[in-house]
Symmetry: C2
DNA sequence: TTAATATTCGACCGCTGATTCGTATCATAA
DNA sequence: TTATGATACGAATCAGCGGTCGAATATTAA
């Protein structure tokens, strides 16, 4: 018997509740503290019930990764770039990324930390979103360097350095005081040109 | 009965063998793959024997952290800074760090990754070495900014960004192609001034 | 030589955490 | 109203891992 629309809707709501419970466990107990018992407690279900909504813990994790990377990608892909200088293109992308990240830092910390700890996730769909983002940035860097708008250094290195700055500013340390667009822009401009 | 010098020496050798086995497990199986069974296999001892040389797994880990951070600090503290511009001071320090890190990337990846995963290591002696390094760099940044030699931005932010670059260039990704001093210098100069 | 100590190790113990079982209740289509 | 599936969950089960045990073998100070 097929599920009614309402039932499907409710299933989704409960899945979302579980996902959000998982993130709240992450927030309070760190990534090692994420156990099915804790997720159950935090999301208000019995432990066994979780398995009606996700086939495994891994699936909970990958759902978070996928939702997160996808939403970042949607943000990035929505940025209009036509008729802008490379510097502006780059900065516009970084700006939306930074806004998104700062609006829910724990989620985005999780996005970077989780894959280091649960290494071999089968069929990592989320990676495709991640690489779309990276590719878009990297190609801007590459063209910017070619056109002489950016400093003349191998684009891969530039990319790594950029990624590092982004990480350092937004995701490092406990108390990430908010980073303002002006600071970000200042640093990036300085860095890139 | 006290141990003879030779026995002490041999103990140390075996401890070193265990430490190095641990790092090789880390290299091949990642940080989650580090179990006492694996360490035993990799270092050529029976599991029980490990406990004659280290009281616990945690102690193996902290030994690695301590040795690593200490050796970084020794390198940094040996850099002469008198009579140099802030830019040169900074670059000289980064240069020795970079050399050290690139000469054994897995070890230094481990130095940064391990504390994220084994969070509450009692009496973390290694942290003192870490903070000595950070302090030395941060104070150069601070003075450089004050004296107007570096770009005018809050030194903490500069510090985070610097740390990020360093991470990004040297410790990120699987295939860290070697980063040459010239690139490092170019990036830093660009960035800082 | 011999008693004490150092060294070695596989098998076992206890715990933790993911997953499954068995069962009970609820909603709904026939 | 009743049979089927959806929902719920605490109690088992099972596996992996840190750490210990007990016994064997080597070394060495007397």
């Amino acid at each position: 018997m097929a599920l009614s629309p309402r039932q499907i809707e409710e299933r989704r709501t409960r899945q979302a509740r579980i996902v959000s419970g998982t993130l709240s466990v992450y927030r309070s107990k760190g990534i090692e503290g994420i156990t099915m018992d804790e997720i159950a407690k935090a999301s208000g279900f019995g432990k066994a019930t979780l398995y009606h909504y996700f086939p495994s813990k891994e699936e909970v994790i990958t759902t978070i990764l996928e939702d997160g990377w996808k939403s970042l990608w949607l943000e990035v892909s929505g940025v209009t770039l036509t008729g802008l200088s490379y510097r502006e293109k780059l900065f516009n992308i970084l700006k939306v990324l930074s806004a998104k990240v700062q609006q829910n830092p724990d989620l985005y910390k999780f996005l970077f930390k989780a894959p280091q700890i649960y290494p071999i996730v089968k069929s990592p769909d989320w990676e495709s979103f991640q690489s779309r983002i990276y590719n878009r940035i990297e190609s801007i860097l590459k063209e910017g360097v070619e056109k002489g708008e950016f400093m003349n250094i191998a684009p891969e290195i530039l990319m790594k350095a950029m990624g590092g700055i982004f990480h350092g500013l937004l995701l490092f340390g406990e108390n990430q005081s908010t980073v303002h667009d002006e600071d970000l822009e200042k640093l990036m401009n300085q860095f890139i040109s």
